[in-house]
């Protein structure tokens, strides 16, 4: 959870690193700065021509690390006879704008998003609710993650109380004093990281709070049909998406709404467009301005699809926040002769991290071996930065392993983890 949660912060970059074909093209497309208003008009215009009345129209614009093409798709209203109606799924070249062939031209991978899911869904376990008696508990991975998070929170809070004195030594770092130096480094890094640790642990619990403490919810809303829907409506307010009025209506042009979205973004761009009930008097348009990092979309603007009027903002639900526990790693290390175990673990970690860029170089066309030899304009710096970061972490562990070897040259391993303090 610790490792995958940390990797989750770079999931966009790792996803792109896993699909080098796709990343470079999207970078070239974004560098060309195609007109987003024109792209949106092209995508939505085609959907309106092909399926004027539908349950949903949507367009995803090319983003850093995302699609290099313009994606447009439409969901028809479900036919009354229960049959399946065919959706539309188009991939359009953002510059020409011609339709691309069906493939994405990128390899299959779970990539960065897979690592992020591993952080809170774990693996090999059912994601469905866990039946206990007549009662439905949260999914098993959710419960495991919750137990680990709770332990982490207890450790942080009790640790802060127990170690109150470390705040007085906050700025103190004494070198070359063996155990004392480790303790100083431990104090400094832990006190600095404390606000973040409390935030990430507590918010991780809050994220699943109704799964971890289901009783109040069950008492108030019951367990029967529609209980969850009633609960969510009361919690988050009525669904933003109106039911179709059944009255056909002319849609307002998408261009001005896209322009408003671009104006609301700190980097002047939008990420995607959702249109519910297009062609209906109750149509609603969601435009998502792109966030600071060029990848995320923290909030969206809502428009009336028929009149084009901006609707009042609805509070966006809170962002997922992760939680982590490194208790297991410490336990593993403590169970083995301390000196040898540290050297081995540092060495293994170094090999594992150093191997990734090597495997990348052997299996893809875009790697550090060729980065210096391509013209500057064609260099894929996002991919290179992921490789370089992995190399740096690998070298860091290799340095630690080498330092351990040098410091304790093959004398009999001691079985204690802690040496007596000075």
């Amino acid at each position: 959870m610790f490792v995958t949660g940390t990797a989750g912060y770079g999931s966009g970059a790792i996803q792109r690193w896993s699909q080098p074909e796709l990343g470079k093209k999207s970078e070239a497309v974004i560098a060309a700065r195609p007109d987003q208003v024109a792209m949106a008009e092209a995508a939505i215009g085609r959907l309106r021509a092909e399926m004027p009345e539908a349950a949903y129209h949507g367009a995803v614009l090319p983003t850093k690390g995302g699609y290099y093409f313009l994606s447009a798709d439409a969901e028809p209203h479900p036919p009354a006879d229960g049959s399946e109606a065919a959706p539309i799924d188009l991939r359009i070249d953002p510059v020409t704008p011609k339709e691309l062939s069906g493939e994405t031209a990128a390899r299959e991978t779970t990539g960065g998003w897979g690592l992020q899911a591993l952080h809170f869904q774990l693996h090999y376990l059912s994601l469905g609710p866990t039946p206990v008696g007549g009662f439905q508990l949260a999914a098993i991975p959710t419960l495991i993650v919750g137990a680990a998070t709770m332990l982490m929170l207890i450790a942080i809070v009790t640790g802060t109380v127990v170690h109150r004195k470390i705040f007085a030594d906050f700025f103190t770092f004494r070198t070359r004093k063996s155990q004392r130096s480790w303790l100083d480094a431990h104090n400094l890094s832990s006190v600095l990281a404390l606000p973040f640790m409390v935030m990430i642990t507590y918010s991780g619990l809050i994220f699943y709070m109704h799964d971890y403490s289901p009783v109040p919810k069950t008492m108030a809303y019951g367990t029967g049909e529609g209980a969850q829907a009633r609960f969510e409506e009361e919690l988050y307010g009525p669904s933003e998406i109106p039911d179709p009025a059944g009255v056909p209506a002319e849609m307002a042009p998408i261009g001005p709404m896209v322009a408003a979205g671009m104006a609301a973004s700190p980097i002047g761009s939008i990420s995607y467009i959702d249109i519910y009930n297009p062609g209906d008097a109750n149509a609603q348009v969601l435009i998502s301005p792109t966030g600071y990092d060029g990848m995320s979309y923290p909030h969206h603007l809502t428009f009336d699809g028929a009149t084009g009027a901006l609707l009042p903002a609805v509070e966006a639900p809170a962002n997922p926040a992760g939680a982590f526990a490194d208790v297991m790693m410490t336990l593993h290390a403590a169970l083995r002769p301390a000196d040898r175990a540290w050297t081995e673990q540092f060495g293994l970690a170094a090999l594992a991290f150093l191997a990734i860029p090597v495997v990348n170089a052997l299996t893809t066309q875009v790697h550090l071996g060729q980065t210096p030899f391509v013209p500057a304009a064609e260099r894929d710096l996002v991919l290179a930065s992921v490789d370089l970061a992995l190399l740096a972490v690998g070298l860091f562990f290799a340095t630690l392993a080498g330092w351990r070897l040098q410091r304790q040259p093959r004398h009999a391993p001691t079985a204690t983890l802690l040496e007596p303090a000075e």
Binding site: A168, D169, F170, F171, T172, F173, L192, A193
Partner: protein, 100 residues
């Protein structure tokens, strides 16, 4: 570059708070501080940290702002601690710490 002002304020804040601790004051300025100076440094330090946080929230919004300020706090804390160690010597440092 919006982060430069709050970064400077955060560094100033931590430096002032560090100087309000007697052993660090002795290491940097050679004397133990008077009570009034300790309080002045504390107030200045915390005010700078609050100011930096407010600046970040104004510039980046509450969500990003608090995250940016957390990162600045981390960086400034390391800078102040390592400056004390490597610029002002650890001898003065460690003598004071034995007492605490």
């Amino acid at each position: 570059m919006t982060w430069i002002v709050p970064a400077a304020l955060t560094l100033l804040g931590f430096a002032a708070i560090a100087l309000s601790i007697k052993k660090h004051h002795k290491a940097v300025l050679g004397t133990f501080p008077e009570r009034r100076r300790v309080w002045a440094l504390r107030v200045l330090g915390w005010a700078a940290l609050v100011g930096a946080t407010a600046w970040c929230i104004r510039a980046f919004g509450i969500g990003y702002g608090l995250v940016v300020e957390t990162a600045l706090l981390n960086a400034a804390g390391v800078v102040v601690a390592l400056t004390l160690t490597y610029r002002f010597g650890e001898a003065a440092n460690s003598r004071g710490a034995r007492r605490g």
